[in-house]
Amino acid sequence: MRGRRLYLDGVSVVFDGFRALNNLALVVEPGEMRAVIGPNGAGKTTMMDVITGKTRPTSGVVTFGDLDLTRMDEASIANLGIGRKFQKPTVFDALTVFENLELALKAPRGPVACLRWHLAGAGRTRIEEVAAEIGLTERAHDRAGILSHGQKQWLEIGMMLMQDPDLMLVDEPVAGMTDAETEHTARLLARIAGRHSVVVVEHDLEFVRALGCKVTVLHEGTLLSEGSIDHVQNDPRVVEVYLGR
Amino acid sequence: MTRIIALLLLMAAAALPARAQDAFLDALPGLGGNFTAQAEAVDRLGAAGDPRALPVLRALSDGRLVKLSDGTLLVRDGAAFTNAATGAAATPAEADTQRISINNRVRVALRGALGRLQIISPDAGERLAAAEGIFRSRSADNVGLLETALARETVPRIRDQIALALAVSRLVSADPAAKMAGITALGGSASPEARSLLLESRAANPDLAGQIDAAIADIDRRLAIRRVAETAFQGLSLGSVLLLAALGLAVTFGVMGVINMAHGEFVMLGAYTTVIVQDLLRGHPTLAPWSLPLAIPAAFLVTAAIGAAMERGLVRHLYGRPLETLLMTFGVGMMIQQAVRLVFGAQNREVISPPWMQGTMLLPFDIPVTANRLWILCFSLVVFLLIVAAIRFTRFGLEMRAVTQRRPIAAAMGIRTGRVDALTFAFGSGIAGIAGVALSQIDNVSPNLGTGYIIDSFLVVVFGGVGSLAGTLIAAFGLGVINKMLEPWAGAVLAKVFVLVAVMVFIQRRPRGLFPQKGRAAEA
């Protein structure tokens, strides 16, 4: 088990008077897997934005180990070992699948280091492993721009794996996947957890149940309920939020 | 204090005419005498400051003064004669008239007398020039004349100048009381010349040094205020030009997000439309004087039509690709410019300003402003208000805002987004054309009139905050004033460079401008 503890407390994000996050608290222990669910607009993606430095919180504490994430930019946060899969997959269309993975591969990130970079055996093996894992071995030298939506989704996951981060933030990984793929993803994430901390946002409750981890329910930017999937599914407040309207 | 003196002066002046009348009639016959008598009479008439003396002396100077055998003096005006003493018409026998000739000595005396008498000439410009001349000549002899003139004068500006000349004449007079009055009056002015006069007289009047210093300090304070006011006006004037140039861009770029590099060329087309309208109406008796106001709608329509065609034909295909749009519109601008160069020639075209836009006027603190600058300042504000009103209160403005904020939803609500795009772009282009009408009054109308405006306009729009019309207004005037404030110690070119750099640094600090648009849309 490695890594640091992710700690959010009293985090609020206000967009133009609208509270996307409201006094949110969340703790993810090293090696823990956590599922986050909540209706549309609950603030799940915004929470990830705050952790990865995309959005600055209006108030509140966000730390990773003893580091204050609110003071760091996106690149430094990523280099701390926080990887992210975006809800809307964004891959580099002009580069091949292989090159996309290579860019994500954990290695020195400066311009000069990149100029002098040579892909050694270990790195190549790692790329091959991940390409196989995400089922894109055959497409390795195709430009990412011509992949299907599902394949881009996989490539995003692959790029996150390449970064080998301590904490993975996975936003809706199985949207648009077949049942078999969903199952595959669940197994993949289960395997990763333990070595890495993982936060998964997902609407698919079957998938969340398959993950078998602690679940956090967000609603209107605040923590509504937390516990096992059975616990939260029986929480009357959660039922109200999901079914009451 | 000054009030009381002015009052006293007025009372003294009321008593004057009777005496002057005598002096005029007394001196008049001398003009018919020998050269020595003539010169003496001219001097006396000059000093008396009677308005009736002016035509007589002019006639003498032009060789139009004639003497009858009985000694009566007549002024000849073409074929008509008037009595020099009474001003009544006269019909003398041709043989009886004898032209009065003069020599150089008389001529010199005439020049002096006429110069001083111009202060009571019916022509305001002559009076002003005379007052300034007398002010500079600084002679105690003029006190009487100036007092007369001051009493008669009604134009405030000339009154001020005469009072100043009077104050100077008093300052150099021997009478201590008059001196004091002079010093006080000079202290009430805002003239750098008065200041240097006071400074000079300080050595000659050690006993009055305290009062003189106080008067100088007074002038300095007034001069400082005037400088600030002057800079402020120049800055606002420059700001109004920037505002006019930027408003169209504030619509196309600020509201639509389309960067139109041909914007400057639209401004130029507006200026050329002014030229064409003026040429078409030349010679038309009633419409010719109105060519400039008529050019405003014409320029709007011409550039709006071109803008609409450009949006439908070209720009629309590049939505979402701002850099391509930038290059493409630059190319269009280039072609427009070259077309105008081929049709109208590369040299400057002349635009005639209507009379009400010519000349200079004085604002408070004696700031001279050219009328066209003042008009353009007002015009820019009117255009600004009209645009704000159009966007706020019309159906078109509503649709425009709807389309730019949430295109798909606007489309779903039945707004024809394509039409709105075209109209918005046409609207922005039309405003550029209107700006061209105004700028034709102060800039050279040539094919590259618009070249310099695109960068300025863009900086204004960005500085003010993209999408915020109020921001554009404040940014334009702010940049104008800053520019003019820098100019005295940096020179015009460096001031411009400084402003450019300052805006660049400012954008670093606040990439969204002074008044950022809030919400998600602005982050795209």
């Binding site: 975006f86 580069l95 055959e138 | -």
Partner: protein
């Protein structure tokens, strides 16, 4: 999963073909000064005009390469690259002015003519050192480089991109133009520098000097091309491409995009400076007109016409547009600006990948 499937595929035929074309063009160009020495009536004779004009085009091609690196690869559409070109040119011009020595009209031992004329008593401090060729060469690279560093740092750090960045770069070159027009800047005001006599001991008005400058430019072009080819072929090049297409996403992979863009921008500015330095002794004059925003934007159209994002495209674009310009400005001078404007419109609307895209489209 076999490792063999993951080896990079060979370069496409068209790409190889384009590179071969490029090589052939270099060989033909290299022959120009030699063919120029043939007698006039020989069919292979190349006129003085063609040699000098193609020498200029080579410098433009270097400028186009540098702009392509910034725009085509890193996505930084600079509308002020002409400023870097001009600054390199001015640095070289200062060296050439110092070399005139006492041969100026006024015969002053150190002061250039315009300074004597303007009543300078001694050389301004920023002119010191320019009599040395290595120092001048250093400045040719450093001055544009430092300007790009400062401007780029300010802009990239605050995430100014797209048209904002473009206009700021345009404002930069505009401001520099205004500044260089001033006499008291010490750069010769609107006349700039001219009447150069020699460079590296060679009198400039000889055929040998012209040929030497021509070859120096050609070598620099080839060098810059190979440098860019290498650079864009490394992982750094791929990072740049990624930044161009989705800068934010690159940040979340842990790359500090500011430093990557800055690196490319500075390298690009230095290349532009070099191009300017080679240009000035060939045309024999440099003045503030070189800073005019129109020049910069013309360079953009070379790259766009050739095909941005491909190095061959930049070079091809520079040669073809300038070839067209040279021909048209003598055949139908009034038409040139229409054609140039139409090129902007046509390329952006119909040919986003430029001539190279057209050729590649055929090749497929």
């Amino acid at each position: 999963m076999s490792a063999t499937t993951l080896h990079a595929p060979p370069l496409s035929r068209t790409r190889l073909g384009l590179r071969a074309l490029m090589g052939a063009a270099v060989v033909i160009l290299a022959a120009f000064p030699l063919l120029n020495m043939l007698p006039q009536d020989n069919v292979l004779h190349v006129s003085d005009f063609l040699v000098s004009v193609s020498g200029k085009w080579i410098c433009y091609a270097i400028l186009a390469l540098s702009l392509d690196l910034a725009w085509g690869y890193a996505g930084i559409l600079s509308l002020g690259h002409g400023a870097f070109f001009a600054l390199g040119g001015y640095a070289m011009g200062m060296h050439l002015m110092r070399l005139i020595g006492p041969r100026g009209v006024y015969g002053h031992p150190t002061l250039p003519d315009f300074m004597v004329f303007l009543g300078y008593q001694e050389l301004p401090w920023y002119w010191l050192g320019f009599q040395s060729f290595p120092f001048a060469m250093l400045m040719v690279l450093l001055v544009p480089g430092v300007l790009a560093l400062v401007l780029g740092w300010l802009c990239f750090r605050s995430r100014i991109t797209g048209v904002y960045l473009s206009i700021i770069t345009q404002a930069m070159t505009y401001a520099l133009m205004l500044a260089f027009f001033r006499n008291d800047m010490g750069f010769g005001g609107n006349n700039g520098f001219t009447d150069f006599k020699e460079l590296l001991g060679m009198p400039l008005n000889t055929g040998a000097a012209r040929a030497t400058l021509f070859y120096a430019s050609l070598l620099t072009l080839v060098g810059c091309y190979l440098f860019c080819l290498w650079m864009t072929g490394t992982k750094y090049g791929r990072v740049l491409t990624a930044i161009r297409d989705a800068e934010n996403r690159v940040r979340f992979l842990g790359y500090d995009t500011t430093s990557h863009k800055l690196f490319a921008f500075v390298a690009s500015a230095m290349m532009a400076g070099l191009a300017g330095a080679l240009y000035v002794p060939q045309v024999g004059i440099i003045n503030p007109g070189e800073f005019s925003p129109g020049n910069s934007i013309e360079a953009v159209i070379w790259v766009a016409v050739g095909g941005r994002g491909t190095l061959v495209g930049a070079v091809l674009g520079a040669f073809s547009v300038n070839g067209l310009k040279t021909w048209l400005t003598s055949a139908a001078p009034d038409l040139w600006l229409f054609v140039l404007g139409a090129l902007f419109v046509a390329v952006t609307l119909f040919l986003p990948k430029g001539l190279v895209g057209l050729i590649q489209g055929r090749g497929k």
